[in-house]
């Protein structure tokens, strides 16, 4: 009887701990939790070249990684205080909802259903992507519309598969899909001529082309058949934290617009006369107060991680693994015809 009673007591205590802990979690904002924890938890995936992947030293690198490092720099002044949680696709939403992860930054496309039904708030798009096609050059095809009746290699269960079906139906192309479960197998199949075309997000196509036995044999067709706005998301209804993440990104874009780079940021901070630059870098004004961050938060972001242009060049630019030109794409600054438009620092 004694044992039974103590077991009962233990389980009652556990239930109590559980409820009180979850109540505590409801009350505090993520920003406070992050500050108490001393690090930002960033939800990523296993590997996505250019966006998040491991190098051989075991360090994470990529565009999503730099976004998270930027947030850590804004909060702590140290881009290293970030903890990456590589999770499966199915777990990414629950990891954010349960509060285990603070930012979802895993190259996720902003869609309506994800925005409304997964308990997430999408904040900003850091990379505009879209689905494209790659074919063998000697096929002589210059447009997707010429691919009538072609077989297309595609990953099963992805939005690419659905987009492909939509596109084929609207344009009466009668495309035959060859589905694969694993991107490595799909690429090998394509390079061994098991299908006429390969479809994927265009950023990925560039990387896959570079892995071909002879990249010059393949071309990426000009059409983009879908909208893939890769965006980061945070837990729903936590504006304080959402502001921090949102404005970290804005600071990166604004820095590029006003010519602040990680190299000249110290100089700009000391000598710049421009009131906007001075406000961004926290030399004057009190913009940081509303965010609940240190005065030099944006300076730290730029100093530690760089401006948007630098991040782009480093991870997906022409000299990187993906080799994507920025000029003329949606990812250029607004004054160059792109969609990267920093909101006003005032």
């Amino acid at each position: 009887m004694n044992k039974f009673a103590s077991a009962l007591a233990v389980s009652a205590a556990m239930i109590f701990v559980q409820t009180s802990a979850s109540q505590a979690e409801e009350g505090t904002s993520t920003l406070q939790t992050v500050k108490d924890r001393g690090s930002v938890s960033c939800v990523i995936g296993n590997s996505f070249p250019g966006f998040y992947s491991l190098n051989k030293e075991g360090e994470w690198q990529g565009m999503d990684i730099d976004m998270c490092r930027g947030v850590a720099a804004a909060v702590f002044g140290d881009a290293g205080k970030v903890n990456f949680l590589p999770v499966q696709w199915a777990q990414s939403f629950t990891t954010i909802k349960s509060g285990k992860g603070d930012i979802l930054s895993k190259g996720m496309t902003w869609t309506l259903s994800r925005d409304v039904s997964q308990g997430l708030d999408f904040l900003d798009t850091y990379f505009y992507d879209g689905q494209g096609f790659m074919v063998r050059k000697d096929l002589g095809v210059t447009s997707v519309k010429e691919l009538k009746g072609a077989t297309v290699c595609v990953l099963t269960g992805t939005s690419s598969e659905l987009n492909l079906a939509d596109y084929s139906r609207t344009h009466g192309l009668d495309l035959k899909t060859v589905v694969f479960d694993d991107s490595a197998v799909r690429n090998t199949a394509f390079f061994n001529d098991n299908c006429d075309a390969l479809t994927n997000d265009k950023s990925g196509l560039a990387a896959q082309r570079s892995a071909a036995p002879n990249p010059a044999d393949y071309v990426v067709l000009p059409e983009t058949i879908s909208k893939e706005a890769l965006s980061f998301a945070v837990k729903q209804n936590d504006s304080e934290w959402a502001n921090v993440v949102k404005w970290t990104f804005q600071a990166m874009v604004a820095a590029e617009e006003y010519g602040i780079t990680s190299e000249n940021v110290d100089d700009m901070r000391a000598n710049s006369e421009s009131p906007i630059v001075r406000r961004i870098l926290g030399v004057e004004g009190d913009l940081h107060v509303g965010l609940g961050l240190p005065q030099d938060w944006a300076y730290q972001v730029i100093k530690n991680v760089g401006n948007y242009g630098e991040i782009y060049e480093r991870n997906v630019g022409p000299n990187s693994i993906l080799g994507l030109d920025r000029e003329g794409t949606l990812n250029a600054l607004w004054q160059d015809g792109g969609l990267m438009y920093a909101k006003s620092f005032r």
């Binding site: 992947s53 051989k56 903890n83 999770v87 777990q91 690429n187 990387a207």
Partner: protein, 447 residues
């Protein structure tokens, strides 16, 4: 009466010694070319082997590139050979995962220590061999965890962990001191102290000497370890073959006790225990390992209080242990059923209770019978651990996949997988050879 002729023994001439059988050529002729059909079969199989082996060797050895900076360079040098340069470049990653470079000696040290701990078992003359195995299961994990996780005594390392690490280190040293003394023909350290302790304690003299020496050594080790400051390496940086081996060895070691308990539970006459064990076994066996892993990673955190969420590795270890235990339970139950009733009755006649009957009479025989099956389970567990890559633990498979996403080695899938196949073949073949050896030895011991 007619005179009968005496029968003389006339030996038949001896047959010629079968020298032909000894001749390799003749044997091949007799076995492989004894008819037209067989000759054709032999030749076609040889041709097939030649082509498979040749194309593999061409790819893997003759046309392979061992030295290059990028995969593109590999392809320029030799377009249809393996690019081992990428695997060599990533070798540390494959073995240690994301473990920091300058701390990797600790992984080597910890693993070597674990193997050294088991080494005395090879010496059949050493006393208390069971206790070495038990100490390895109960104490070594603490020492290993301390080596792998790092931290400073009293700061990152908890009090319980501190105590057990010291005990483990003490035991390890004691084990080797004893072995060395034993090899030198001297009496062991505890035996030397026993005269001292026997003055203080009258009972259990041998045990007291042992405990005293162990305690002193442990305290010394604890004091020494407190001076050391190992850089903490969190679990999420573990990976590669190291992580695979940790998960596999945990599953293999834990499957035996869990399996024995579940098997005994299932054969128990107490209804609650019987039904609980049966339900657990059947439930776990009825779902694939990947489902159990997913359940452990997504559901376990829901069952536990939210503050005390274990890391992913612990969740995976829990799942693997449950899974391996359920399979092992059925293996052991098979062994238990093969034991004739007479053995139980004989044990009862001797006045042995349930646990003694099981421990001394039934289980040793049952386990011996089931060695091939148990070893099969072990091997499949070792291979199953590669599934943890799917839930995002950076074991050797996931590290291999990351090579193909590295900037320099993009698209390099085949070579890492070939290396992993070879590694796994070596490990699994070694295990199965060991089990054959064990069977032979135990059979010899029995007859």
């Amino acid at each position: 009466m007619s005179e009968q002729k005496l029968k003389h023994f006339v030996p038949t001439p001896p047959r010629l010694p079968a020298t032909n059988e000894q001749n390799l050529l003749r044997r091949i002729q007799k076995q492989c070319f004894n008819s037209i059909g067989n000759s054709l079969l032999t030749i076609s199989v040889l041709v097939l082997i030649y082509y498979v082996a040749k194309s593999f060797l061409d790819w893997a050895v003759f046309n392979a590139v061992w030295n290059a900076a990028t995969r593109r360079e590999c392809m320029d040098i030799s377009p249809d050979g393996a690019c081992w340069a990428g695997v060599i470049d990533w070798f540390n990653g494959l073995i240690y995962g994301r473990y920091p470079d300058e701390e990797q000696w600790r992984v080597n040290g910890g693993v070597v220590m674990g193997l050294l701990w088991l080494l005395p078992l090879m010496n059949r003359r050493i006393a208390y061999r069971n206790s070495i195995l038990i100490s390895w299961i109960t104490l070594y994990p603490f020492l290993g965890a301390y080596m792998f996780l790092g931290g400073t005594f009293g700061q990152d390392v908890g009090i319980i962990h501190m105590v057990f690490t010291s005990l483990a280190a003490g035991y390890f040293i004691l084990l080797y001191l004893n072995w060395m003394l034993c090899a030198a023909g001297q009496s062991s350290l505890p035996e030397r102290v026993t005269p001292l302790t026997s003055k203080l304690f009258r009972r259990g003299q041998h045990m007291n000497g042992f405990l005293l020496v162990w305690a002193v050594l442990s305290i010394l080790c604890g004091v020494a370890l407190a001076q050391v400051n190992l850089e903490p390496v969190p679990v999420d940086r573990w990976g590669g073959l190291f992580l695979t081996l940790i998960i596999a060895s945990f599953a293999i070691t834990m499957s035996i006790p869990v399996g024995i308990l579940l098997a005994l539970g299932r054969r128990s006459k107490l209804p609650v225990i019987h039904w609980l064990s049966m339900m657990l076994i059947e439930l776990v066996r009825a779902v694939p390992l990947i489902t159990v892993l997913f359940m452990a990673v997504t559901l376990l955190p829901i069952f536990l209080p939210s503050g005390a969420e274990p890391d992913k590795l612990s969740q995976v270890l829990f799942a693997v242990c449950l899974f391996a235990g359920a399979y092992m339970a059925e293996n052991i139950r098979g062994g238990l059923q093969a034991i004739p009733d007479g053995q139980y009755e004989a044990a009862q006649t001797l006045g042995l209770g349930y646990w003694l009957t099981m421990g001394l009479i039934i289980l040793p025989q049952a386990m011996r019978l089931m060695i091939p099956n148990i070893m099969t389970s072990f091997i499949s567990m070792l291979k199953d651990t590669t599934l943890v890559s799917i839930i995002g633990l950076f074991d050797i498979m996931l590290m291999a996949r990351n090579i193909s996403n590295d900037k320099n080695w993009i698209g390099l899938h085949t070579e890492p997988l070939a290396l992993i196949s070879i590694l796994f073949f070596v490990m699994c073949y070694g295990m199965s050879q060991y089990s054959l050896n064990l069977e032979k030895r135990l059979k010899a011991h029995r007859s």
